[in-house]
């Protein structure tokens, strides 16, 4: 389906945002976050099935140390929560919300020893020209680590060309906004989506803004853990 292609606006990311100032550090940049209302008790982990929605695309990414690796190294072998972000995004219901949701969820996972070593987070930039490995490392701050109970990888790509097949495969379109004179701004429009991926590299849940409920997301991760362990209610 042609719509599965990423917007060609991506080209503009490559050509218009490269001079944007590099993001300094999240500590200096605390965007407002608008959390979605959650007024329910989520179903118990393991009491429901997360069907396979789609497979994960292949590609090559660059880690915070500057090493180019197969994307599959970060989306297989553990349960993965993938977010697509750019470091200077300030949208209250966008990247900032994704980050804060992951921070919240991270605390819940770290507090549950049964989940240690079973999951990982990945934050992948869709602005490879601004978000260099060093930028991603600074963006992740103390959360950026490849070890511990919950590794959190902050990744970018070497180029728009390297990024495009990943976004195509995920169905994530982006656009660059322009100002009233038609000049590209530093705002990238995108529909916020986080992807929950099983250890086989299959997408089992997709969260947009209204679905970013950490308690329910934790149960989803536990559900996949129980599935791996052959435990079902």
């Amino acid at each position: 389906m042609s719509g599965w292609k990423v917007a060609a606006g991506l080209v503009l990311v490559a050509t218009t945002l490269h001079q944007a100032p590099v993001f300094a550090h999240r500590a200096e940049h605390k965007p407002v976050v608008a959390r979605p209302v959650m007024d329910y008790t989520p179903p118990a982990a393991g009491s429901y099935t997360l069907h396979v929605i789609q497979s994960m695309p292949d590609g090559r990414v660059v880690d915070a140390g500057g090493r180019t690796r197969p994307f599959a190294e970060y989306t297989r072998g553990r349960i993965t929560l993938l977010s697509l972000i750019y470091t200077y995004c300030t949208e209250p219901t966008g990247c900032a919300l994704a980050y804060e949701t992951q921070v919240d969820l991270r605390k819940r996972i770290v507090a549950d020893p049964a989940l240690h070593g079973r999951a990982q987070f990945v934050s992948l930039s869709f602005d490879p020209l601004n978000d260099k490995p060093e930028t991603m490392r600074l963006y992740g701050g103390k959360n950026a680590r490849a070890d511990g109970p919950l590794p959190w990888h902050f990744l970018t790509t070497s180029s728009v060309k390297a990024l495009k097949p990943i976004l195509d495969g995920l169905g994530q379109e982006i656009e660059v906004e322009v100002d009233a004179r038609g000049k590209p701004t530093r705002t990238i429009s995108h529909m916020l989506k986080l992807f929950l991926i099983d250890r086989e590299g299959r997408v089992r849940e997709i969260y947009s803004t209204d679905f970013l409920h950490p308690e329910a997301m934790l149960n989803d991760i536990k559900t996949l853990v129980m599935e791996e362990d052959g435990q079902r209610h």
């Binding site: 042609s2 606006g9 503009l12 789609q54 966008g94 656009e175 322009v178 803004t209």
Partner: protein
């Protein structure tokens, strides 16, 4: 954050409609999935009408008809594009994908799902895919409601491929058009009422993790001549009499409600403070309210009468205002468009009515409620005959007191077919700039 007209944007080559920045809107022109982005709160530019082909009329094919509805346009009120899909499959309803780039349109007879690209250039939709494996994958036929979720589509079917009765279910396909899962409608007693296994519409309240479903009838009935059907006592027994509340995350029915008379469209109040929905029953001509029961569950209540139920006016579509304070109701048989004051959802009150056609079916309002669009066709075999078989898309202005007709496209005269479901679209705000920029960038590579 998601008002199209508030931003100027670069779009992709070929151009895209403006979209929300990183997040789904609460709702979409009052009736679509809360997960659909690119909410149009300003002036819509086009109305796409999923139109049933009529043998001997024009090309005879089901088609997507695009009408220019921007009053500043030269083509205002005119058909600017038609896209036949080949053959007649009982075109019925449509729904946008979560990114609003694609419009999925179903056929109740052939069970095909046509996927139109309306994001690249909404003035010239393109058919990019036809999904034809719904019966094979699910056993369901008659895809009716298309309801976006992130990366996928919920599809409420009306019937099944075994006996073509009303027992059916919900299918899930990903945005690529690949089958994901299926769920049967409840057919056992759950929460005090017994499910009938029937389906019609579905609608989600994300903050409550609740999916509501309603119930209609199967292929045997909706493909039967209406005059014949109403004389068939057994056939008239085969209409849905229930609604169900599901745990959305688990996709499991938690409660079944007895709602006699075939509850059809479901509309949640769009007011963030509200947690209630309404529906209208086709055969009993009632408005029902679905709201929390105070015990952690939900309840369904008969709260109003539409017209004179003894005359079976047949309420067929409803449209709720963005503030949840008003509800349009179209009744097919008498061609009436009625407005109910929903200020107190426990006691909706009819405050206005107008005859808008010899037969009227779908009704869709703009986000600001100032424009109301109406179409005429219910089902090919249920539409009226002869002179009463008007087929049209009509626009009315609503000033809070009166509907004033602006224009009407005669689908018979234009040799288009039977006008059924409508969806709005908008031009990319910076299409020219975007296209020029994209070309420049492409040339520079």
């Amino acid at each position: 954050m998601s008002i199209r007209l508030e931003r100027t944007k670069v779009a992709a080559i070929g151009a895209f409609a403006a979209m929300a920045v990183a997040g789904a809107a609460l709702a979409d022109e009052t009736c679509n999935s809360p997960y659909t982005t690119r909410l149009i709160k300003g002036q819509e530019d086009y109305v796409h009408v999923w139109t049933l082909g009529v043998d001997g009329l024009g090309d005879g094919s089901d088609k997507l008809v695009t009408v220019d509805v921007n009053p500043k346009s030269k083509g205002y009120g005119k058909v600017v594009h038609t896209l036949p899909v080949g053959g007649r499959g009982e075109a019925h309803h449509m729904g946008f994908t979560d990114d609003r780039k694609f419009l999925w349109a179903g056929g109740l007879d052939d069970s095909k799902i046509h996927v139109f690209d309306v994001g690249t250039d909404p003035s010239k939709p393109k058919l990019v895919k036809t999904i034809a494996d719904l019966p094979q994958k699910t056993g369901f036929v008659g895809p009716h409601t298309f309801y976006a979720m992130p990366g996928r589509m919920l599809i409420q079917a009306l019937s099944n491929n075994k006996d073509h009765g009303g027992v059916t279910g919900i299918a899930v396909y990903n945005n690529k058009g690949e089958f994901v899962a299926k769920y049967d409608m409840p057919a056992t007693e759950i929460g005090g009422a017994k499910g009938d296994g029937y389906g019609y519409d579905l609608a989600i309240n994300p903050k409550k993790n609740v999916l509501l479903t309603s119930s209609f009838t199967g292929w045997n009935n909706y493909m039967m001549d209406m005059g014949k059907m109403v004389k068939d006592a057994e056939a008239m027994k085969r209409f849905g009499t229930t609604m169900a509340a599901w745990d959305l995350k688990a996709m499991k029915p938690k409660q079944v409600f007895s709602v006699p008379g075939s509850p059809l469209e479901i509309r949640w109040s769009l007011n963030p403070k509200d947690n209630w929905a309404v529906t209208a029953t086709a055969l009993t001509s009632k408005i029902w309210l679905i709201k929390p029961d105070g015990k952690g569950g939900w309840q369904a209540k008969d709260v109003a009468t539409i017209g004179d139920p003894s005359k079976i006016p047949l309420p067929v579509d409803i449209s709720i205002s963005a503030d949840g304070k008003g509800l349009w109701v179209n009744t097919f048989m008498d061609g009436m468009t009625r407005y109910f004051d929903l200020t107190n959802p426990e006691a909706p009150k009819e405050v206005y009515s107008k005859n808008t056609g010899k037969q009227v079916n779908m009704i869709s309002q703009s986000w600001d409620g100032k424009r109301v669009y109406i179409t005429s066709s219910l089902l090919a075999n249920w539409d009226k005959k002869g002179e009463d078989n008007e087929q049209f898309l009509a626009l009315f202005d609503w000033n809070g007191k009166e509907l004033k007709e602006k224009w009407r496209v005669d689908f018979n005269k234009e040799k288009l077919g039977r006008a059924h479901h409508m969806k709005f679209s908008a031009k990319p705000a910076a299409k020219k700039a975007a296209a020029a920029e994209s070309v420049r960038v492409a040339a520079a590579r």
